[in-house]
């Protein structure tokens, strides 16, 4: 069986500094902001930090987590790609080192706590924006990278449930192929692109071809709203169709400023990163008071609209430092 490496020192030069690793669920700019948070916390709190991005999904994420255990890190914060089925893996990791989750939670595992926000809830917040933008209802299309990712599913379901005026129930699931109607809204479908940007843009273009009378386009992954804007601009329909966004891509923020995007829901990845390190350091030092009763450290999501976009953007830029060019 696995040897007991979890509590051993890292063997680095600075052996009294804890070593903390942050594992994302994929490659995205969203995670770069989290990375800044991790790095800043490492500097502020004198922790050795490392940042890992799995490229090909669960298999790679599992590989990275296990290799980190081998390396003997003192704490890991992970955004599990498939929290339900990965519970066992997370338990194995948790038995070797201190494990917390961020961005998406795995409540059935032995993780110490969760930093982030419920994606379903964030999805409902996005739905609120759609209702604001299209108070009289209308036809909308959803664009997302991959449907099988936990965060995508949560967000989309929250959005749908909000639009159709359903009860709060994260366990709902609507098949991506079907047209959903209710409450005056028609959700024409969900188009995925597997992170292929030209494909993401093509999805928008084809939607405009197919449904020239569409009222709203909703992009759920950070790069989707910019692709929507590109397609609209080329079609000369910028402003004619409402765009509702998710996450804080700079082009999205620019769009909000100019009024081409109605609004976006932002999480706070910087805080995910910063808090992860801070909490893990405290736990490493034996301070269990940082762990709340419900094991949930909420970093609330926020609505960003034209009225509050500038201060938000300025704050983001200052956090990101010089990597923050458009």
């Amino acid at each position: 069986g696995p040897s007991d490496t979890g509590d051993a020192d890292t063997g680095d030069v600075d052996s009294d500094r804890p070593e903390i690793a942050f594992v994302s669920n994929g490659i995205a700019d969203f995670w770069l902001i989290a990375k800044r948070g991790v790095e800043q916390a490492g500097e502020d709190l004198e922790v050795d930090v490392s940042f890992h991005t799995p490229q090909d999904t669960v298999v790679h994420q599992q590989q990275i987590l296990k290799d980190l255990v081998t390396r003997g890190v003192d704490g890991i914060s992970v955004s599990p790609i498939d929290p339900v089925n990965q519970a066992e893996l997370l338990n194995e990791i948790a038995s070797h080192t201190r494990l917390i989750t961020n961005d998406s939670d795995a409540p059935d595992s032995n993780r110490i706590l969760f930093v982030g926000i419920d994606n379903y809830k964030a999805g409902r917040m996005c739905g609120e924006l759609v209702v604001e933008a299209l108070p009289d209802g209308g036809k909308v299309m959803i664009f997302v990278g991959r449907m099988e990712q936990d965060n995508a599913r949560g967000r989309r379901q929250g959005l749908i449930d909000e639009l159709l005026g359903r009860e709060y129930n994260p366990k709902n699931f609507d098949s991506p192929g079907q047209v959903l109607e209710g409450n005056g809204y028609t959700i024409l479908g969900t188009l995925t692109d597997q992170f292929d940007f030209p494909k993401a843009k093509a999805n928008v273009e084809d939607t405009l071809s197919r449904h020239p009378d569409i009222d709203g386009l909703i992009g759920l992954f950070a790069y989707n709203p910019p692709m929507i804007l590109e397609a609209l601009e080329q079609a000369g329909k910028l402003g004619a169709v409402k765009v509702i966004a998710f996450d804080e891509d700079f082009k999205t923020l620019e769009g909000i400023k100019q009024g081409t995007v109605h609004g976006t829901v932002v999480q706070d990845p910087y805080q995910y990163g910063y808090l992860s390190v801070e909490l893990l350091k405290a736990i490493f030092a034996g301070d269990s008071s940082v762990v709340p009763e419900n094991k949930y450290v909420e970093v609330p999501a926020r609505h960003i609209r034209q009225d509050n976009v500038q201060p938000f953007w300025d704050d983001l830029k200052s956090k990101l430092g010089k990597t923050a060019e458009p």
Binding site: G26, I27, A28, D29, W31, L32, T53, Q55, M147, P176, G177, G189, T190, L191, T192, Q194, F195, D196, F197, P198, K199, A200, K201, A202, N203, E205, D206, T207, L208, S209, R210, P212, Y223, P226, M227, E230, Q234, A235, D249, F250, K251, E254, T323, E325, P326
Partner: protein
């Protein structure tokens, strides 16, 4: 010409079918989109056709698209590099990549699959390295440059329809490639050595130079494709930009009549191959009753049925001819 019939038939069939199933398909906005996408993929496919004709393969195309597609906006925006320099650098890098592949394959006799697979891994890794995994784009600037990919050139007598700029690039690339392949001695050399490298060498052909040339052409078109893709979508994520494009490009070339054994292929066929793939992808979204998440199943099945029919028809025709 006869070789073209097969792919042209499949293309036509899918095209007409889609037009029948969706009344939106023939609208000029959609056709423009379709032509732009076909042109972008077609440029990659024409390049890889040269490599396939020599009997090789290039798996690094997607990563070169990523390297150049992320690299140019990175240079322009992040490094404030002047435009001519950035473009020159893109050309030089693509050239160097092709040269590296060609040299390793021709001189050191390494297998093309291995060399370009390492390329696939390396160039993406390098891009992720220098961009720090950050999405690259031209922001709101470089509108003029972006016209190269997004502009539409109006046609003299047609209202409301313009030829997308990438299509002009494709036309130039395709015409040059056709002339090169069919009218010059080097094209003949490529075809000859694709079929029997040894005999070509015995005939006094500098086969290693031809191999290098093919890989250089392929990387150059991949680089051009990379820039155009990036200009078109204005956003390139180093981890995923161009993923699987090599497969699409090779598929287009092979559908268009290039045999992976080497020695055969026509440029027109390759372009129809690219067109077929893009019409199929377009069809999925336009036709209501196809759920979009089974897109790949539909594309795969249509292509497979297409080549099966093509082959069966050819056999029947051949049998008829003989029995007469």
């Amino acid at each position: 010409m006869k070789k073209l019939l097969g792919i042209f038939g499949i293309f036509l069939f899918v095209f007409v079918l889609t037009a029948l199933l969706s009344d939106r398909f023939l609208e000029s906005y959609n056709l423009e989109n379709l032509i732009r996408r076909t042109a972008l993929l077609g440029i990659l496919a024409v390049g890889v056709a040269f490599v396939i004709i020599t009997g090789g393969i290039d798996l690094s195309i997607g990563s070169v698209v990523c390297l150049v597609g992320c690299g140019v906006p990175w240079l322009l925006v992040k490094q404030s590099c002047p435009l001519p320099w950035a473009l020159a650098l893109a050309v030089i890098v693509s050239l160097a990549v092709g040269l590296l592949h060609g040299l390793l394959i021709a001189k050191l006799k390494l297998q093309p699959f291995v060399v370009t697979l390492c390329g696939l891994l390396m160039y993406r890794g390098i891009t992720r390295g220098f961009t720090g995994d950050q999405t690259q784009g031209f922001g709101t600037e470089y509108k003029g440059l972006r016209q190269l990919a997004t502009a539409e050139v109006p046609l003299p007598f047609v209202e409301g329809f313009g030829i997308p700029a990438p299509c002009l690039f494709l036309i130039v690339v395709a015409v040059l490639a056709s002339i090169f392949l069919n009218q010059t001695i080097y094209g003949r050399y490529l075809l000859a050595m694709g079929q029997n490298e040894e005999a070509a060498r015995y005939s006094g052909i500098r086969t290693d130079r031809m191999v290098i040339l093919a890989y250089v052409i392929c990387s150059l078109t991949a680089g051009l494709g990379g820039i155009l893709f990036a200009l078109d979508v204005n956003s390139a994520q180093p981890g995923s930009f161009g993923n699987f494009y090599e497969l699409h490009a090779i598929a287009a070339a092979v559908l268009g009549g290039c045999s992976l054994r080497g020695g055969s292929g026509t440029i027109m066929g390759v372009i129809f191959g690219a067109g077929l793939i893009q019409v199929l992808r377009n069809m999925i979204t336009l036709v209501d009753f196809i759920p979009s998440h089974i897109e790949y199943a539909v594309i795969g099945a249509v292509i497979l049925c297409g080549v099966m029919t093509d082959e069966t028809v050819k056999r029947i025709v051949r049998r008829r001819l003989f029995s007469k």
